[in-house]
C-alpha cells in the first residue's frame, strides 16, 4: 500500500518516463506560467513574507520577487541555447568521427528550500530543474509557514501538476522524503542538515548540491581613502548585514575585520547609517525584517548572554521578545573563542574584530572554515590579489555586499563547509542536467592495428597514433620507421 507521498513520487517518475517534461515547449510553458504566478500574485507574496519575516515590499521585491522574475526571464531567453548539444573536438586519428556533449535531464529531483528567502530559495532552483527538463518535488521550509502555504496552494494552479509538486510539512516529512530514491537532491540550509541529506543520498548514489553557509567576513580597508568612499563603504556594510532578512542570510556579512586605529571611525559611520536606515532605537525600528521564530530569537539572545560578549556591545543590544525583534547590534572585539565568533550568527549582531594591520585578515579568515562569501572593501590591488590567492570561499566580492547574487553569469555556491555544487543562470540548468558524451563514427576507415593478433608493428603504429604523431605514422607506413 503506497502512501500518498510515494504515489506522488511515482506519478512524477511516470511523467518523466513518458517524456512529459522533455520538450522545450513544455519547459518554456512552465517557466512562463511561473512568471505569471509571480506577476499575478505579487501582493500575496509580499503579504506572506511580511507575515513570516516582517519583510517590507521593497526588500521582498529586491531579494525575492525581482530576483525570480529576472531569473525566469533570463532562462527563457537562453533555454534553446543551453539545451543544444555542444560540439567537441575529435582528433584527426578518428576522422571522420563527430563528438558532442548533450545535456539531459536527470529525472525526478527533490528541492529543499530554506525559510529566510522562502520564495527565492524554492523557486530559483525550481527554475533550473524545469529548464533542464526534470520533474520536481519541492519541499519548502515550514519555518516560514505562510510562504509555504502559498506555494502549496498556488503552484498547482499554474504549473503542470503531474510534473511539479509541492509538499508541506516539517522535518519528519523531510526525513521520509530522504529515504526514497531521487535522481538529484538540491538542498539549501545548514551544514548539519547538509550532512544528513548527503548521507541519505549516498544510499541511492544520488548526486547532491548543498548550498550551506558559514561566517562570511567583510574586510574593511577603505575608511582612510575619501570621506565619500568611507560613507559608501558603511552603507554597503549596513545594507549587507541588516538589509537581507536582518542578517538571516547565508550571504549576509557575518563579521567585520578592520584596523584598530580605524575602528571608532567605522563604528561612528555604521551607527549613523543604521539610524538613518532603520530608526533611532528599537521602539522606532523600521525597514527591517524580524527574527523568524522564538527558537532563532532565543539562540541569538543567548549569543549575547556571555558577559564578555555583552560587555563588547557598542551599539544596540535591545530585544523585544514579543515582536521577535532584535535591534541592529554592533560588538567591538568580543572574545574570539565565544560562540558568536565560532558559529554562523545568522542574525542582526555584527562583531567588529580589530587587527593591527589589515593584512592579518587573511590569516584570520583562514583560521575558520571556508565561508560562502568574502567581502573585501579595498582599493589596494596587491591586497586584492593576496585575498584571492590566499583565501578560499565560494565567492569573493570587492567593494560591495550582496550584489553578486544578482549576477547570472557567476556561479553561486560554496566550497568546503559552505557547500558544493552551484547554481544561478546557466549553472542552474547544468546542476540539474547530465552532460552526456556522444561519439559518432562511420564504418570506414578502419584502424587495423587495433585488432589482435598483436604485433610489434601494430603496437608501434598505435603508439604513434595515440601521440597524434601523424608524420611518424606516415613514415611507419612507408617503411621508414622500424619497430
Amino acid at each position: 500500500m503506497l502512501s500518498s507521498m510515494e504515489k506522488s513520487i511515482a506519478e512524477l517518475r511516470e511523467t518523466f518516463k513518458n517524456g512529459g517534461t522533455k520538450s522545450i515547449s513544455w519547459r518554456k510553458s512552465q517557466l512562463k506560467a511561473l512568471l505569471q504566478l509571480i506577476n499575478q500574485n505579487e501582493d500575496s507574496i509580499f503579504k506572506a513574507l511580511d507575515q513570516d519575516l516582517g519583510k517590507s515590499p521593497v526588500e521582498s521585491y529586491r531579494d525575492e520577487v525581482g530576483v525570480l522574475k529576472k531569473s525566469v526571464t533570463y532562462t527563457l531567453s537562453c533555454l534553446e541555447k543551453w539545451v543544444a548539444p555542444k560540439k567537441a573536438e575529435v582528433p584527426l586519428l578518428f576522422f571522420p568521427a563527430k563528438a558532442e556533449v548533450m545535456p539531459q535531464p536527470l529525472g525526478v529531483v527533490l528541492i529543499f528550500s530554506s525559510w529566510n528567502f522562502p520564495f527565492t530559495l524554492a523557486l530559483d532552483p525550481l527554475i533550473g530543474a524545469i529548464s533542464a527538463g526534470n520533474t520536481v518535488l519541492l519541499k519548502p521550509s515550514d519555518l516560514a509557514p505562510a510562504c509555504m502555504s502559498f506555494l502549496v496552494e498556488t503552484i498547482p494552479k499554474y504549473l503542470d501538476n503531474k510534473a511539479v509538486k509541492v509538499l508541506a510539512g516539517g522535518a519528519d516529512i523531510g526525513e521520509r522524503l530522504l529515504q526514497l530514491k531521487w535522481d538529484k537532491i538540491f538542498f539549501t540550509g545548514s551544514p548539519r542538515v547538509g550532512r544528513l541529506v548527503m548521507a541519505a543520498a549516498a544510499k541511492h548514489l544520488t548526486p547532491v548540491t548543498l548550498e550551506l553557509g558559514g561566517k562570511s567576513p567583510a574586510i574593511v580597508d577603505t575608511l582612510s581613502t575619501t570621506p565619500s568612499k568611507a560613507k559608501v563603504t558603511a552603507k554597503r556594510i549596513v545594507g549587507g548585514k541588516w538589509g537581507p532578512c536582518t542578517g538571516q542570510a547565508c550571504i549576509a556579512i557575518d563579521y567585520v575585520l578592520v584596523e584598530e586605529k580605524l575602528a571608532s571611525t567605522l563604528i561612528e559611520l555604521l551607527k549613523k547609517t543604521i539610524k538613518r536606515f532603520y530608526g533611532e532605537n528599537i521602539k522606532s525600528l523600521k525597514n527591517i525584517s524580524r527574527i523568524v521564530n522564538k527558537h532563532q530569537f532565543q539562540r541569538l539572545v543567548n549569543l549575547l548572554k556571555d558577559p564578555n560578549v555583552a560587555d563588547s556591545i557598542v551599539y544596540g543590544g535591545s530585544v523585544d521578545e514579543e515582536k521577535l525583534v532584535i535591534e541592529p547590534t554592533i560588538l567591538l572585539d568580543p572574545p574570539l573563542d565565544s560562540e558568536i565568533m565560532s558559529e554562523e550568527i545568522f542574525g542582526p549582531l555584527l562583531p567588529i574584530i580589530t587587527l593591527k594591520n589589515i593584512e592579518e585578515s587573511i590569516d584570520f579568515i583562514n583560521s575558520k572554515s571556508n565561508p560562502l562569501v568574502i567581502y573585501a572593501f579595498t582599493e589596494d590591488d596587491t591586497f586584492k590579489k593576496r585575498i584571492l590567492s590566499e583565501t578560499s570561499s565560494g565567492t569573493v566580492t570587492f567593494n560591495d555586499s550582496m550584489v553578486q547574487f544578482l549576477c547570472d553569469s557567476l556561479p553561486f555556491g560554496g566550497v568546503g563547509q559552505s557547500g558544493f555544487g552551484r547554481y544561478h543562470g546557466k549553472y542552474s540548468f547544468d546542476t540539474f542536467s547530465h552532460e552526456k558524451s556522444i561519439m559518432h563514427r562511420g564504418f570506414y576507415p578502419e584502424i587495423e592495428p587495433r585488432y589482435p593478433p598483436w604485433t610489434d608493428f601494430k603496437l608501434l603504429f598505435l603508439k604513434l597514433a595515440y601521440q597524434f604523431d601523424y608524420f611518424g605514422l606516415i613514415l611507419l607506413l612507408l617503411g621508414f620507421k622500424r619497430s
Binding site: P57, R236, F412
Partner: protein, 493 residues
C-alpha cells in the same frame, strides 16, 4: 609512525596514521607549494619521465596481476597516461587562467571573473582492472589543479600497487603526493579523514560507503562506477567491422573486465545467427582456435571473480545457451570468450554487471524494441553502443538512451577523446573527468565580483518607499528603457 619496512612486519596503517598523512599534506598545501605553476609542471614532467623509464616494469607488473598483454598495457595504460600528462602540460596555462564573466546593467559598473583554485588535499581511490591508468590519470588532474594528493591503489592488483607506490615515491614530490597501499582497513582509515575531494573508481556497493563517509565532512565526490553497457546491433551494417569493434571493446579491453566493456548485445531475431557466425569467425581470427592459448587475452583477476563468472555461466537456464566458447582453466584463471544466445532476461548474467569475457545476445523482433529493453533493465549504464546506418535509429538512441557516454558504430573509443567528459549517471556514477574535466573536477571555481564606489544605487537602501520599489523593478529587469522611464518618474506599468 608509518614505518617503511618491506619485510614481514609492516606497521599497521590505522586512523592515527591516516590522520598524520593528511596533516602532513595539509601543512604542505598551506605553504602554497602545490599552487605554483612551476610545481605542477615539474610533477607532470616527472610523471612522464617515470612512465618513459619504467615501461617494461609496468608491463611486467600488469602481466603479474592480470596477464595483461603487453599491447594493452602499453597502449591503454601507459600511452593514455602519457597523453594525459602531455595534454595537461600543454593546456594548463590556459586552464589556470581566470574566465571572464559577463555582468549586466543591474550591477553596473562592475566586472566579474571565475578563478580556478585547488580544492586542497584530495583522495584518489582506484580500481584493479586498469591499475596504472585509473590511479594516475586522476592524479594528473589533481596535480594540474594544484592539489596535494593521497592515492590508494587497489590491493587486488598487488604487483601494480607496489610498483606505483615505489615509482611515485621515487619520482614525485612525496611531501605533497603520497601512496597508501592496503585493503579495507587502510581504506576505511583514510575515509575517516576530512578530504577536500574524493575520486573513487569501482563498484556501486563501495561507492555508497565512500559517499556516506564523505557526507560526514561535506566532501564532494566523483564516483566512476559501471553498469551493464548494452550494444544494439542493427542489420544492414558492415557486419565484419562491427563485430571486430565489439570484440576490441569487449575482449580486447582486459578480457571484458572494464567499466565501459560491451556487457550484452541486443539484436533482431533475424540477424542473430549472422551475428553469431561473424563473431565465431573474427574471434578465431583474433585469438586462434584455442583462445586459452592466446597471448592476447588478459586472465581473470583472481579466483573470487573466476568463481563469480563461473556461477553466471553455469546457471541452469543459461549454460544451455552457449553458442561459442565456454572453455575454462581454473588453475590459470582463464575463461575463453563465450557467447550466449537468448538467455532469460531474469537470469543472473542479465541482472548484474558481467565484468568478464561472457557476452549474452538478447534478441528482439524489431530493433526499436531494444530501447524498451534497455530502459527496463534498471540502472543507467556507463556506456551504450549502437551499430547502425539508420539515421532515425541513431537519433532515437542519442536522444532517449540515458548513459554516461554513447558511441555509434564503435565501442570504448570515446575514452580517447579528451574533449568529452567521462563519467556516469545514476548507478553508473556522478561527476566526470578526462582532459580539462579532470582539472575542473579537482578545482573550486571561485566567483569574483569587482565593484567600484561610483554608481551606488540609493534605492537598495532604506527608507523603502513605493517610488523606490518602482525604480528597483526597473533596475532588476535590466532594461534601459525601463530605468530611464522610472528615473524620469513615470510609473512602470
Amino acid at each position: 609512525m608509518l614505518m617503511e619496512n618491506k619485510a614481514e612486519n609492516k606497521a599497521v596503517f590505522d586512523a592515527e596514521s591516516a590522520k598524520e598523512v593528511v596533516k602532513e599534506l595539509r601543512d604542505s598545501f598551506v605553504t602554497g607549494k602545490t599552487k605554483s605553476h612551476r610545481w605542477r609542471v615539474t610533477q607532470l614532467k616527472a610523471m612522464l619521465k617515470m612512465l618513459d623509464e619504467n615501461e617494461p616494469q609496468i608491463v611486467a607488473a600488469l602481466r603479474d596481476d592480470l596477464s595483461k598483454p603487453e599491447f594493452e598495457s602499453s597502449l591503454y595504460e601507459i600511452q593514455m597516461l602519457k597523453n594525459s600528462c602531455r595534454l595537461a602540460l600543454k593546456e594548463m596555462n590556459h586552464w589556470m587562467m581566470p574566465e571572464k564573466a559577463k555582468t549586466s546593467l543591474t550591477t553596473f559598473p562592475s566586472s566579474a571573473e571565475i578563478v580556478s583554485e585547488p580544492l586542497g588535499v584530495v583522495l584518489v581511490i582506484s580500481a584493479w582492472n586498469y591499475p596504472f591508468l585509473l590511479s594516475l590519470d586522476p592524479v594528473v588532474g589533481a596535480i594540474s589543479a594544484g592539489n596535494a594528493i593521497v592515492l590508494k591503489p587497489s590491493e587486488m592488483a598487488p604487483a601494480s600497487s607496489s610498483l606505483i607506490a615505489k615509482l611515485v615515491a621515487d619520482y614525485l614530490d612525496s611531501s605533497c603526493i603520497k601512496v597508501v597501499e592496503g585493503a579495507v582497513p587502510e581504506t576505511s582509515a583514510l575515509l575517516e579523514q576530512k578530504w577536500d575531494k574524493i575520486l573513487y573508481t569501482g563498484n556501486g556497493r563501495v561507492a555508497r560507503i565512500v559517499m556516506a563517509a564523505a557526507a560526514k565532512h561535506l566532501t564532494p565526490v566523483v564516483l566512476e562506477l559501471g553498469g551493464k553497457s548494452p550494444v544494439i546491433v542493427d542489420s544492414n551494417i558492415n557486419l565484419k567491422v562491427a563485430t571486430r569493434r565489439i570484440i576490441a571493446g569487449k575482449w580486447g579491453c582486459n578480457n571484458g573486465q572494464a567499466c565501459i566493456s560491451p556487457d550484452y548485445i541486443i539484436t533482431t531475431k533475424d540477424y542473430a545467427t549472422k551475428l553469431v557466425d561473424s563473431f565465431k569467425c573474427e574471434l578465431e581470427r583474433f585469438y586462434g582456435k584455442d583462445p586459452l592459448e592466446s597471448k592476447d587475452l588478459s586472465r581473470i583477476v583472481n579466483s573470487n571473480h573466476f568463481d563469480r563468472l563461473s556461477k553466471l555461466m553455469d546457471e541452469e537456464k543459461v549454460s544451455s545457451k552457449i553458442v561459442h566458447g565456454g572453455q575454462r582453466n581454473e588453475k590459470n584463471l582463464q575463461i575463453a570468450p563465450t557467447i550466449f544466445l537468448d538467455v532469460p532476461v531474469n537470469s543472473l548474467i542479465m541482472k548484474e554487471e558481467i565484468f568478464g569475457p561472457l557476452l549474452p545476445i538478447i534478441t528482439v523482433d524489431k530493433v526499436e524494441q531494444s530501447f524498451d529493453l534497455i530502459h527496463s533493465s534498471g540502472g543507467k549504464p556507463l556506456a551504450a553502443y549502437l551499430f547502425t546506418n539508420n539515421k532515425k535509429l541513431k537519433r532515437k538512441f542519442v536522444e532517449t538512451v540515458s548513459a554516461g557516454g554513447l558511441v555509434v558504430n564503435d565501442t570504448a573509443v570515446h575514452l580517447a577523446i579528451h574533449s568529452l567528459p567521462f563519467g556516469g549517471v545514476g548507478e553508473s556514477g556522478m561527476g566526470s573527468y578526462h582532459g580539462k574535466f579532470s582539472f575542473d573536477a579537482f578545482s573550486h571555481k571561485k566567483a569574483v565580483l569587482y565593484r567600484g564606489f561610483a554608481g551606488d544605487a540609493f534605492l537598495r537602501y532604506p527608507p523603502y518607499t513605493p517610488g523606490k520599489l518602482t525604480l528597483l523593478q526597473a533596475l532588476l529587469s535590466g532594461s534601459i528603457v525601463g530605468i530611464i522611464r522610472a528615473l524620469l518618474g513615470w510609473f512602470w506599468a
